[in-house]
């Protein structure tokens, strides 16, 4: 009988680079930067790490394939190192690998590190990822990520009869909130405060999404070291721990893209993965029990529908929660307290661990007062890989011991 991951794993150390257009750094530099902070935070030595997981998405222009690059860069001494890739859920997959390696009893201490170097493409947005392999070029639409996610808005508007200008208004509030939070964070990529008026007036990227509805395309890395509660207590005596409460992944079965039962106005994988996560973590009422969330806000509309997918807002009602400030920093359920993908940035293979880092530093009360969430004891990180109709969703819930 499976018992899940709840309370079996402690995060004893984390690290996260400054995200941004890191013209100064290649993938290997970002890995070292995140790793140094993570190792120091964990209070262990490199030789204590028994296994490692590397998450990275675009191998062609980044580090290359396989996990070998990280083993070589960090000079890990012939230990098992595995690379994970699952679109934007890549880093959460690395974290999951490390947690399960320890929880299985096979290893005591494991490292998870996610990294992405995106700013060597020469153009805005993400490179085409060949989502369906070569057939994507043969039969796939001439799409980009903003265009795929923008369609959530046209379908949502049609389904709930919410006029597009009202959706735009809510999306502007979402992005303005993230800019406000990100502006306070020295490690965030985009640090300017932007008004809702500016957001609505910005150039259109993919209807109805404008420039400020899209997250930053950034370079960065984040890392975590995990172990068992017993070992954690021996390493860090009389310290607060952050425990893993749930790790869930749901992959589409193809229904949303090929069958006819999906409304196009929500993400089915996140809807399902979050329910499993609440069950694993013993959360009955997520809207009340969770203290802060990091949503995969690759686009403002993704954050908007995710409020409903995560069972925080009722279906069709996210607009009202957004406009009420429910998810603002001083609201009842603060969201994107570090700036989110929107402003902290979105290096694909690092984002999942960056979100966990944002929760971790809040739970340990390591952030300055102006952006601290009161009584942050239980946090949820949500990643969405792929496209709305072809997705993998990951949920990580972590909390105070």
């Amino acid at each position: 009988m499976s018992t899940g991951i709840n309370n079996k794993i402690v995060i004893i150390g984390m690290g996260c680079t400054k995200f941004g257009e890191r013209w100064d750094a290649s993938g290997e530099d970002l890995i070292v930067e995140a790793f140094r902070e993570c190792l120091a935070d964990a209070g262990i030595e490199k030789k204590d790490i028994q296994t490692a997981y590397l998450g990275t998405h675009y191998d062609e222009m980044n580090l290359g394939k396989s996990a070998i690059p990280m083993a070589v860069i960090l000079k890990l001494p012939f230990i098992p190192v595995t690379r994970t890739e699952n679109f934007c859920a890549t880093a959460t997959e690395a974290f999951r690998g490390a947690c399960y390696a320890v929880a299985s009893g096979a290893y005591d201490i494991a490292l998870a590190l996610g990294v992405e170097k995106l700013k060597d493409t020469g153009f805005s947005g993400l490179p085409n990822a060949g989502t369906y392999g070569i057939m994507d070029f043969a039969i796939g639409a001439n799409w980009t990520a903003p265009g795929q996610f923008a369609q959530l808005a046209t379908a949502y508007s049609a389904k709930y009869g919410l006029p597009m200008h009202k959706i735009k208004q809510a999306l502007a509030h979402i992005s303005a909130k993230s800019h406000k939070n990100g502006a306070m964070n020295p490690r965030a990529h985009l640090r300017q405060v932007v008004t809702e008026e500016q957001i609505i007036a910005a150039p259109m990227i993919a209807y109805p999404l404008g420039l400020f509805d899209c997250c930053g395309v950034s370079d960065g890395a984040a890392a975590a070291i995990v172990t068992t509660p017993e070992i954690a207590k021996s390493i860090k005596r009389n310290k607060d721990f952050v425990m893993v409460k749930s790790l869930q992944i749901a992959c589409t079965s193809g229904e949303e893209s090929l069958y006819t039962n999906w409304d196009g106005a929500h993400i089915e994988t996140a809807t399902r993965a979050s329910l499993k996560a609440y069950e694993e973590a013993g959360v009955k009422n997520p809207r009340k029990e969770i203290s802060l969330i990091e949503i995969h806000d690759c686009f403002s509309i993704t954050e908007f529908v995710s409020y409903e997918d995560l069972h925080m807002s009722e279906r069709g009602k996210a607009y009202y929660d957004v406009m009420d400030g429910f998810y603002d920093l001083d609201g009842e359920l603060p969201c994107q307290v570090d700036g989110g993908l929107k402003c902290f940035g979105h290096p694909i293979g690092a984002s999942g661990l960056r979100m966990i880092y944002a929760l971790y530093e809040q739970i340990l009360e390591r952030v300055p007062k102006e952006r601290r969430v009161k009584n942050a004891h239980l946090g949820l990180a949500h990643n969405l890989g792929g496209l709305p109709n072809y997705s993998v969703a990951s949920i990580a819930i972590i909390g105070r011991d």
């Binding site: 493409t121 805005s124 947005g125 085409n128 043969a138 001439n142 799409w143 259109m204 993919a206 090929l258």
Partner: protein, 486 residues
């Protein structure tokens, strides 16, 4: 009875006003002002002679069982491929049988009627029957040339057979001369022409009367026996002169569509023929003449079956659906006359793997999906295991054709980030009315005319062009249906 059993037409959505060309290019050749009347039909950036021929073929084959077709002939002087059977791509797109006779006709502008004659003779031989003949052209004139003003893009398709004949084939007469009024060398992009006066006097005025007289004598008929005499000639004054020489009364004259479409080369006499068929009555005799390195003249007599073929898109419906291209510059970019900056994103290499294209040929060119034999769910692209969550069975699948199915928009966007010859790139999720869903590029539409639930029909288009390897790849796009469109 031998003859034409069905017809179809296609005119692209975009029209370029000749005045706009003249205003942009008249400075280099003031003579173009003489042609600055009316408009010309121009293929969208994702269209070429193959895609237009497929569109006309779909119109032609509506209501006809496609497995019956035994031949597919294609005539054009501007086919996308010099080596790779263009008719073979058309055959796959029309979801025709694998055991089929297919051939490309080209070279001269009379190739359209020559293909039609060959099809008639093929059916007559009782070895290939029926045969679909399609013709289209998309010729380029140099910017600032008279040809640029005149040439238009369109397509036509005719089904030739011996059942349910609507226009009985009664006879033909052909001539062939190496009369070089215009030509294009093997590597030339643009058409080159000799002096107009010579082309008019020694070309049209000599060769057309010769072939018309030849056919009249051979069939022992008078010109007045015909209700329509169709011949291509873009010179307005010369048409008047020819009508006089041949005794063609105004009633017998068929609109040459120069002001509406332009000169469509090989397809032109056949487009005029289809336009005539749309209004023809049983008993009408129609003569159609082509011109280009000689002439073909064919004559048909309309049967009572013509009444069963009303209500096709033909030429008339497409004439009514149009959008004016707002910028002459777009035409230059779309035809790769002028280079344009599509951004670094456009430079990502997308090249076909022929072995994969072969393996997936039915899904890519034919838009064939699969149908679950257990639960009946249809799905695209073809799946091994059923996508229906109540089934998910690993059962047998059978082929299911989506290209002739209508659908509606589930979600859509206009994407300014995607590299496109006509930004924003418009695409979205389409659900077919019989089931099945896929994300398609949209074509021939503007973002502001779209809404969720809007009906769409499928259109065979150029998917992308690989300039490095000179490969055009084709796939299907969703075309939002116009108001009032059936």
């Amino acid at each position: 009875m031998l003859g034409i059993c069905s017809y179809g037409g296609y005119i692209p959505w975009y029209r370029l006003k000749r005045k706009d060309i003249s205003e942009a290019m008249g400075w280099i050749n003031p003579a173009v002002i003489t042609q600055a009347k009316g408009e010309k039909a121009i293929a969208n950036f994702d269209e070429d002679t193959i895609t237009m021929a497929v569109a006309a073929g779909i119109d032609c084959l509506e209501g006809i069982e496609r497995y019956r077709i035994q031949g597919v002939y294609f005539a054009s002087t501007s086919p996308p491929y010099k080596e790779r059977l263009n008719a073979g791509i058309i055959s796959a797109a029309l979801a025709l049988n694998d055991p089929i006779r297919a051939a490309d006709f080209g070279g001269a502008l009379k190739a359209g009627t020559t293909a039609l004659l060959s099809a008639l003779e093929g059916v007559e031989s009782k070895r290939i029957n029926p045969i679909i003949v399609s013709s289209s052209d998309c010729r380029l004139g140099k910017p600032g040339s008279i040809q640029e003003m005149i040439f238009g893009d369109a397509a036509v398709a005719l089904l030739v057979g011996d059942q349910d004949v609507i226009a009985e084939f009664k006879g033909s007469y052909s001539t062939t001369y190496d009369f070089v009024d215009h030509y294009r060398g093997g590597f030339a992009k643009y058409d080159r022409q000799w002096e107009d006066r010579w082309v008019r006097d020694m070309g049209y005025e000599t060769l057309i009367p010769e072939v018309v007289k030849g056919l009249l004598e051979k069939s022992q008929l008078k010109i007045s026996d015909f209700s329509k005499i169709i011949y291509p000639c873009h010179y307005e004054a010369e048409r008047k002169k020819l009508n006089k020489i041949l005794n063609i009364s105004p009633k017998m004259e068929q609109n040459n569509l120069l002001a509406e479409i332009g000169d469509v080369g090989t397809a032109h006499p056949l487009i005029m023929l289809v336009n005539a068929l749309e209004e023809a009555k049983p008993g009408d005799k129609i003569m159609v003449v082509s011109f280009g390195n000689g002439c073909d003249a064919l004559y048909f007599e309309i049967t009572g079956n013509i009444e069963n073929k009303r209500g096709k898109k033909g030429i008339s419906e497409y004439l009514a659906q149009k959008k004016y291209l707002d910028k002459y510059g777009k035409y230059l970019i779309w035809r790769e006359i002028m280079p344009g900056e599509l951004g670094l994103r456009s430079e990502v290499d997308q090249w076909p793997r022929w072995s994969l294209n072969w393996r997936k040929r039915k899904a890519i060119l034919g838009l064939w999906g699969s149908k679950c034999k257990t639960c009946g769910t249809v799905q695209y692209p073809p799946q091994n295991i059923c996508v229906n969550p109540d089934c998910r069975g690993d059962s047998e699948m059978e082929d299911f054709l989506f290209s002739d199915k209508k659908g509606h928009i589930v979600s859509y966007t206009g994407d300014n980030l995607a590299a496109s010859y006509h930004p924003p790139a418009i695409y979205g999720s389409v659900e077919f009315n019989m089931g099945g869903r896929f994300m398609f590029d949209f074509t021939d539409c503007d973002l502001d005319m779209l809404s969720v639930g809007m009906p769409v029909t499928m259109s065979f288009r150029r998917k992308y062009y690989d300039p490095k390897r000179d490969v055009v790849n084709y796939f299907w796009k969703a075309r939002p249906m116009k108001r009032g469109e059936r």
